[in-house]
Amino acid sequence: MVRQKPATSYDNLLGDIGMRYVAGYTAPTFADFLENAPFAE
């Protein structure tokens, strides 16, 4: 499921499984979303 539907793994336990066991798996982080938000500050 992590490989087939990675976007459904980012905010539940599947993300942890992906990080540990799925080669090349990455998940976006809230910190990145916040920093990249289209507001000046």
Binding site: D11, N12, L13, L34, A37, P38, F39, A40, E41
Partner: protein, 180 residues
């Protein structure tokens, strides 16, 4: 009963007024402004939506959604639940029906869980959507720029990115930051 805030027609009731005053008194200015913008963005996201959210419940949910990040209402649970519990107490004191309280509780408890919130009641989904516009810009491109500008003028961001990235570090216990 309606009023106009930042050029947007919004519900104006004693309950909403009390929620605003609670958020204002409990929150640092940047956090209060974020709550108010999130509510207003949620109102705009909800325009034309069917089924439409209850405007008063949408207002209370958006305005109070970050109480769990404040000194006065941060308790022992993850901040979303602390905030939801605080909102529940606020609504119960005012005799709001239990099923309405539950909607607000869910909206606040799930406001950071997009993958679930978007599938729940309109108040829950649009509370999340309004917050997502303000925090990460999700859906910002679908809101007219003049309306965005009016909201930012009325409730400035006050260095929210910097403030918000530090807020979770300033309070709370680490064991509530990695719950599934």
């Amino acid at each position: 009963m309606d009023t106009v805030l930042a050029g947007i027609e919004v519900v104006d009731t004693p309950l909403v007024h009390d929620a605003i005053e609670l958020a204002r008194s409990a929150s640092e200015p940047y956090l209060f402004n974020h709550a108010m913008r999130s509510w207003l963005f949620g109102v705009l996201v909800a325009e034309g939506a069917r089924p439409a959210p209850d405007p008063e419940l949408l207002a209370v949910s958006g305005i109070l959604h970050d109480l769990g990040l404040t000194d006065g209402y941060s308790a022992q649970e993850r901040f979303e639940v602390d905030g939801a519990n605080a909102a529940r107490a606020f609504l119960k004191e005012r005799g709001i029906p239990a099923h309405h309280i539950q909607v607000v509780w869910d909206a606040i408890a799930l406001h950071t869980t997009r993958s679930i919130a978007l599938h729940k009641e309109p108040e829950v989904a649009m509370t999340h959507s309004g917050i997502a516009v303000d925090v990460i810009g999700a859906g910002l491109d679908r809101i007219p720029q003049d309306k965005v500008r009016a909201i930012l003028v009325e409730f400035p961001r006050l260095l929210m990115k910097k403030q918000f990235s530090g807020a979770p570090l300033r309070r709370g216990s680490p064991e509530t930051s990695h719950q599934l």
